[in-house]
Amino acid sequence: MLELLQSIPFQPTWLALPVALPMAAAGLLLAVARLGFRQRFRLQRWIAGVVAGIHVLLALLILAHTLAGDEGARIVYQMGSWPAPFGITLIADSFTAIMLLMTALLVVAVVPYAAGTLDHHRESMGFYPLTLLLLMGMNGAYLAGDLFNLYVFFEVLLTSSFVLLTLGGTPGQINGGIRYVVLNLMASLVFLSAAGVAYGTLGTLNMAQMAQRMDIAPDAVRILLAGLMLVAFGSKAGLFPLFFWLPASYHTPHPVVTALFGGTLTKVGVYTLFRLFPLFFPGLLVAWQPLILTIAALTMLISVLAAFVQPTIRRLISFDIISQVGFMLLALGIALDPRAPVTGFALAAGIIFIVHNMLVKTALLMGGGVAELEMGSGNLGAIGGLAAKRPYLAGLFFVAAFSLAGIPPSSGFVSKLSLLQATIGVHQYWMAAVSLLVSLLTMMVMIRLWQYIFWGEFTTGHAQWTPLRKPWASWLTLGPITVLVALSLTMGIFFRPVLHVAQKAANQVLDRTGYIAAVAPLADVPVEPEFWEPPQ
């Protein structure tokens, strides 16, 4: 399989496709929206699904090529053949390819779910073009080789997510939307000022060149930039003191939008932290370890405790999203610990955890969304007993919930186990204890959720049970959930190749010199001290 994919040639130019293709397709969809009633919806669904499917193949191809050789390879595309740092640089390594693949997979899963559950109003107001624009923003953020393009792609994905969140315009969505937009805009401003500070002090925005100059920059510059980036991306990822935008808004839109956001958005922030911190601040990652681990522990604990008292399905899962981000930050915190027996194992565990989380969280939110749509309410106190009407959904939700908690044959078990091994390997026994406690609490939360939705006497929030209108709709919704849950189980059972790929990706992320050599920025642009001498 891998050899077959590697035998297909890959031009570096094709790295622009994950950005260009969804943008072109979104434009095409907006043109299709002018057609007559039935064709309009059918064509939009099919085009969106096919484009997302092409992305999966493209990401697989990139993954196969970045895995070539013992060390793995990087694909670099300098747009218009302008040498770095003057042109736009796109760069992909195995971690990028993994994230591209997972995001494309989730969009493939979301499109049929949307076709099954969305009302005509939301479909005609442009759900599919917006989803493709979101995909474009995320792909660009994964591939960007300089800080300002990263900012621009973040804004692309945020802007599409703003519109997706308020699509439909109910009072709750407007209320949640204002909080979401304002808090994310503030985080973007912090990111933008980080870019300004970086350009003013280092004289470049190309990430490879920034990494080069970060070594000779004074401590104050490094600390300032690291702090700004931690605040900016920590807010996007949903870390402890900055996560309030997430539970304030994720329960308001249509369930399909929540499923898409819950699987992807926070993970883009985590990806950026994973990419930038080992590249720019390998020293600070060790020096700031107590700070990072404290944030990770508080993120995990506080949000899992908050999840206990949430009264509705999606509010509960929203808090659980944040608690899982804490595990990922834990992996970053111990990634460069000098006591680690195997370099990069902690980061590999973090990458596996991200992949596991994207699969399972989306499956849970999709399952919860079906329950909420059919029962007419997500209020845990008012509903119950859906297992009698939908035994298959109950089973799928059960497996997904226990995968999230970390029960053996699932991806949750292997990812938590490897993370725990890495944590104990660097003698962080307190963090190991906290992560075990949070796993236990997560299981209790999941049991509570499953019990309230599926167990007991059949009651609904409305006067009567409203199964999804279209007869084929239930299969369009159950199909993607089945695929995601099956992938999670497969990942848990065939863990060896997954660990192999993740280990290679983690080593590539930690290999700074390789990254800088691959981009090869021109060295004759003057470095910071000369640059800042006052004009004569």
Partner: protein, 178 residues
Amino acid sequence: MTTIVLGLLVATLLATGSYMVMRRGQIKLILGLGLLTHGVNLMLFGSGALLRGATPIFKDKDNFAQELATRAFADPLPQALILTAIVISFGLTAFIVVLVSRRDALTGSDLVPGELARYINAQDPFHTAGGQDISEVLFSDASDDYDILQFELDEIYDRKEPLPVDATDTTVESSTAE
């Protein structure tokens, strides 16, 4: 000198913007976000060295490094960055204005946490006000515990049915009558 003035200007804009964002009215929120984005844009502007009278054009393409070192031209990159940032913040501000006006249409008020104070007053879910008008409790400076009502507000927003007529502002009707 220019740098100090620019720094002070950026600091003033950021401080004013942060203060405005943290106040209750939604118009103040929009103005505050505008000030914040201006502050950050000016900061980007200052990140290329400020040169008086130099154009952002370099004359000799093959001798880029030396021209940069002798500061023969102003750095064009920050200006390109600001242009992008301005466009983005302009679009987002427009989006927030739409959201706020939509919420204004839905609730008949522009106050952030207590939009539905009148409605709560009629129901008074927690009997927090103890008989007095809850909007006085909410907006008096001595009180900072309106957060417990935030959740109740969410519940009202999450309703599927439209709000009862007596919940909306009576001044809206009188203004349309004029």
